[in-house]
Symmetry: C2
Subunit: 331 residues, 2 copies
Amino acid sequence: MSVSLHDIAKAANVSPSTVSRALNDHPRIGTQTKAHIKSLAKEMGYIPSAVAQSLITNKTWTIGMVITTVADPVVADFVDGVDEVAQTAGYSLFLSNSRNDPQREVAVVETFQSRRVDAIIVVASRIGSTYSSKLDQLKVPIVLIENQKHGDFYHSIFIENTIGAKAAVDHLIELGHRRIGFIGAVDRPKSNDERLLGYKMALQQANIPVEPELISLPDSNDDFERGQRGLAEMVAAQATAVFCYNDRTAIGLIKGCEQQGILIPQHLSVVGFDDIQIASYLRPALTTVRQPRVQMGRLAMQMILGLLDGQAVQNQTLSCELVVRQTTARK
Amino acid sequence: MSVSLHDIAKAANVSPSTVSRALNDHPRIGTQTKAHIKSLAKEMGYIPSAVAQSLITNKTWTIGMVITTVADPVVADFVDGVDEVAQTAGYSLFLSNSRNDPQREVAVVETFQSRRVDAIIVVASRIGSTYSSKLDQLKVPIVLIENQKHGDFYHSIFIENTIGAKAAVDHLIELGHRRIGFIGAVDRPKSNDERLLGYKMALQQANIPVEPELISLPDSNDDFERGQRGLAEMVAAQATAVFCYNDRTAIGLIKGCEQQGILIPQHLSVVGFDDIQIASYLRPALTTVRQPRVQMGRLAMQMILGLLDGQAVQNQTLSCELVVRQTTARK
DNA sequence: CTCAGTTGTGCAAACGTTTGCGCAATTGTG
DNA sequence: CACAATTGCGCAAACGTTTGCACAACTGAG
């Protein structure tokens, strides 16, 4: 099939080991031999087999990344960040969707183990402690981005959900709103809880009672749909402002408003979370909380590199930032 | 490190080959031996090494996908489609960004070759004929999605750019527009040319002269930015409608209009291309040409499966569909 | 001239599987 | 009961590398 070390060895009349050493610039190989072998390898179109190398060196230079779906722009940016530093460090990236299905998630992780990836990155995992049994055996480093099970498992990188959410709601309160709603995400339990906590903290600090009917957790796995569905509860509860779990939920909410003739921000103020690229292009432009997504991806991969280097790495929690645009107004 | 066939063999007092056959349900292994070995393997946490298997079977069950960036929602949907059928067919996906840099693209492809992927999928390749020399040696199937070099290389899947573009411009003409602009993309030469051709065909068919000043090709690699930059030329040329290379360009254009007080669609009609998810959530909602992106991804992977199965597969060109929303109006 | 050090290369084992072949033990057939 | 067929398992080679060790041929110092 493809040309191997042996083929080159035969052509150069040397042993395979000499070819190997020559191509790896081993000092003990004669300069002319080296040159000869290298040119021969090039002209024969030799491409070393990473799989054979992996087998013997016990290192694959691959990392496995399991995500919910790459169609989510937040996840896409994570991937971009990871890929960037992985590529420059010489690692290839296995990508696999779990579609937010825990069963699929473990299946994917097992595939990765079989492939002997050097490390694993999981985005928005719902597995949590189940990993302990699965992964403690194989000693591959694993880092979780926005893990969705409560508790600190393995190495993780988080965002300051609570602080960000509080800032968002603080902003609404400053604008004079008192009946502020929250539309959450059932499929991201932990960050949802944290953002909800920030929401509650802001209200309590302003001595505004937390009313259950202002908190909506529509039972859907689609961000947009949750926004649209949550609207009914919001109007029923007479909210004048809504903080949404994320931008896409806010966008769904806004679409619902449009259909019902509710004006944003005149009738209803809306703030999202994430600051996805499109947020500033919406009209009205979306007020939201910015997450350094690509940076989170880079950081995750850098943590991996540190771990592979035997360093002790710290879990990281990155901060986010309120971006005020046009979907929020005085009450 | 991790438990191998030999470890199980020792524990079961049989030979490694027996273990291998037992786990692979070879008929010539005794039922009790088989059961014993299987339970032993499970309790010892055995996970077969895909790399050792690959080495001997000469099949890695991996496919390499090189994309421009996953942050582009169009590309993301391709990836989702590919991943879906790859996963169910038992293949893992290597993903690598080229950032639309041809040099990076060949580097990535070489990495894939070294990893002995079973097939390669390239999105929006700018390499084209260069592949011949690179890939003819290694007999791995390759399929290109929206190849950006002219000429038919390898197996490809395309979209009916020209027909879609013509439909878009036809729509504008029907609405009474005569001065219709086009804002293109320099970094996607082929599909840009095709969409431009559709634009010209529509005009010619309506006996409207094609005027160079109505065609803008802003020199930028950012979709949004090209839209914003193209606006100046459009107003200078007194366009009453603009067909944009893609939705993100249209969104950039619309943002520029907003800043200059140009009303959409009253002052300017805009139509995009792609129908990315957000298009229907914009206000006004974007008139555009829908591409079956996920389907294209699936199809690409299905072509791969066919090729790996030794079948002769046909290049596919999928059709697209005009979706009229709110950014277009009578002149 | 001798001997230690250096330089250049080859042998062979190893990585963890799969698989063709061989062989003993069991089963079935006449 | 004899012999063929079947059943159950092991041996060893192979996949394409890397690498410790051995070894021969030089080089240079004393």
